[in-house]
């Protein structure tokens, strides 16, 4: 018998299998959603009264009276790190021998490698989407209108794919799921060496310099422009460029690493 499935059908079947795995481990999804929602509630609770209320009319009114709009991008960026699970899915398959089973069949190696990345992408959309719904419930209202939700989600998707690529590369190079989890360690410095709580103009010294070189800065600023300021196209486009470049670089790195790691010895 010949396997006559097209690449896309193989990818679809393998993605569905991994989604079943995700559904069967719901508890694994909770920590990242919890942390992202926690950021949103805690920062809004602690700082929203000042920057979203009493600061109005002062130079500190950078949230334009709605601090949820200002802080929501931080939670969205946090949720998008869930794309880092891609590497874990792939390494789990390599470690358990499932990858080898598929390699012994006449199906595309790239379908086997891309399926976990696709699941990572879906996970990013789900988690970032969920945080956005929570944001909406507690008062988020994009300055550019409803289309802003989709714009923020699309930037989050690209950013999450960057983490997906990073985790796949780290996972296959280290050969362990712990290596793949290293993506989450990259996340914290990336998030906090950025204008997380105040605009970049308010940062000073080394942090101001570091944030200028941190792509997370441009992602957050882009989302904030959409949520707080409106159609500031150069700022918005920088976010797409930063997230898109991060995704392109890490996904290329991931595909090369995964290809090499799974070559016939």
């Amino acid at each position: 018998m010949e396997s006559n499935r097209s690449f896309l059908t193989q990818l679809q079947i393998l993605t569905k299998r991994l989604l079943l795995r995700v559904i069967r481990r719901p508890l694994a999804e909770l920590p990242n959603i919890f942390i992202s929602a926690f950021f949103l509630f805690v920062y809004d609770g602690a700082l929203g009264g000042v920057f979203g209320g009493s600061a109005q009319g002062t130079p500190f009114d950078f949230a334009n009276g709605n601090f949820v709009n200002f802080i929501l991008p931080v939670s969205i960026v946090s949720a998008s790190v869930s794309g880092g699970a891609s590497g874990i899915y792939l390494v789990e398959d390599i470690e358990s021998g499932v990858f080898k089973r598929y390699q012994s069949m006449p199906i595309s190696k790239w379908a086997i490698i891309l399926a976990p990345m696709l699941v990572g992408a879906l996970r990013v959309l789900l988690q970032a989407g969920l945080i956005m719904v929570i944001g909406k419930i507690i008062g988020a209202d994009p300055a550019v209108g409803a289309v802003g939700y989709f714009m923020v989600l699309s930037i989050a998707f690209l950013w999450g794919m960057g983490f997906a690529g990073y985790s796949v590369a780290a996972g296959v190079r280290s050969g362990s799921s712990q290596g793949a989890q290293a993506a989450s360690f990259l996340f914290f410095p990336a998030l906090f060496l950025a204008p997380t709580f105040v605009p970049r103009e308010a940062l000073r010294g080394w942090l101001a310099t570091a944030s200028a070189y941190n792509p997370t800065t441009y992602v957050i600023e882009s989302m904030r422009a959409i949520m707080v300021d409106g159609w500031i196209t150069d700022v918005i486009s920088k976010g797409y460029i930063a997230a898109g470049s991060f995704a392109a670089i890490t996904l290329t790195f991931a595909v090369i690493s995964a290809g090499k790691a799974t070559e016939k010895a």
């Binding site: 079947i13 299998r17 006449p106 010895a265």
Partner: protein, 327 residues
């Protein structure tokens, strides 16, 4: 046409630290519809040989073909002809048996309704219908092996590669799997299996290649291999270390195993009285003596110089044998 034709294949793994010759020179042919056993200890090169034949490892030197298709240059076509159940091929523990069969059927190109039908057939075939909706992590070792076997049969392969299919199974589960493998052979499937169990090779394989340190050291049917030793095996048992030491000096061609000495001679039964007379004259007390036809165990000892199973147990050196290696 031969099912499998292996000509002087070699596999060398090279790293920065060293170079390892996992398979030095292996050749064999397998006819269609037979069960061919690769027998050897861990590290002998059996699994590496199977990985090369199933296209999962490249061949360093030599050539191999499956049903006339070259393994190195036409790997995709080879994969379409073979079913593979390797020692370390994994099963997704979070999915149910039914989901795994269905997914594998879909990957092999069955449409949804045919996949459902084939899933049902295979679940019945490997006796997992009752457990079909349970997650695989709840399966016993024997059930997982049967599932693994079933998954390798989804596309009705002409040739099936099984790498140590019963390692770690209890005798009952092993017997069930043996029966299934024989049934597959009877339907025309060629089976190439590796094993480190003598009994398994003896019971299942139509022909056996004994592989040791990357080389085929003997090949033939079980009867041919046993006949190659010639004669019978006489086993002498002793009560004391002193007796066995003295007896070894008289029976210079013997091999010691625990408190026994074994010697291979022509027409063993007729020679027992002579040996007993010689031993008792030397003041050695023999607690029992028996003559038997050689087993595959004896063949393995003869061609490799050590025992395959229980190699960690004492196999003392005599001038005719080398020391058993604990593998």
């Amino acid at each position: 046409m031969l099912a499998v034709d292996v000509k002087n294949i070699k596999k060398t793994f090279t790293s920065k630290q060293d170079t390892v010759e996992a398979v030095k020179d292996v050749s064999f042919q397998v006819e269609q519809g037979e069960i061919f056993g690769l027998l050897g200890p861990n590290g002998a090169g059996k699994s590496t040989t199977i990985l090369m034949l199933t296209t999962l490892l490249s061949i360093t030197k030599g050539s191999a073909s499956i049903l006339g298709i070259d393994v190195e240059t036409q790997d995709k076509q080879v994969r379409e002809k073979i079913g593979v159940a390797l020692q370390d091929t994994g099963i997704d523990n979070l999915l149910t048996g039914k989901e795994l069969f269905f997914t594998t059927c879909r990957l092999w190109g069955y449409n949804k309704s045919d996949s459902e039908k084939r899933t049902k057939e295979l679940l019945e075939l490997v006796g997992l219908t009752e457990a079909a909706d349970r997650r695989v992590k709840t399966y016993s070792g024997g059930m997982k092996r049967r599932l693994d076997l079933g998954l390798s049969l989804v596309h009705s392969p002409e040739i099936l590669f099984l790498d140590e299919p019963t390692t770690g199974l209890d005798p009952g589960s092993r017997r069930v799997l043996w029966d299934e493998i024989k049934r597959l052979r009877d339907t025309g499937v060629t089976v190439i299996l590796t094993t480190q169990y003598l009994e398994e090779a003896d019971e299942l394989a139509d022909r056996i290649a004994i592989i040791d340190e990357g080389l085929v050291v003997a090949e033939g049917t079980s009867d041919e291999l046993k006949a190659s030793i010639g004669g019978d095996v006489i086993t002498f048992s002793f009560e004391t270390e002193g007796d066995i030491t003295k007896a070894q000096q008289l029976l210079t061609d013997s091999v010691q195993e625990k408190m026994e000495l074994r010697i291979t001679v022509e027409d063993g039964a007729s020679k027992i009285p002579g040996y007993l007379k010689e031993l008792t004259s030397a003041g050695i007390e023999v607690s029992s003596v028996a003559a038997s036809k050689p087993t595959l165990d004896d063949v393995f000892l003869e061609v490799t110089g050590y025992r395959l199973e229980g190699a960690d147990d004492a196999v003392e050196e005599t001038p005719a044998s080398t020391r058993g290696r604990g593998r």
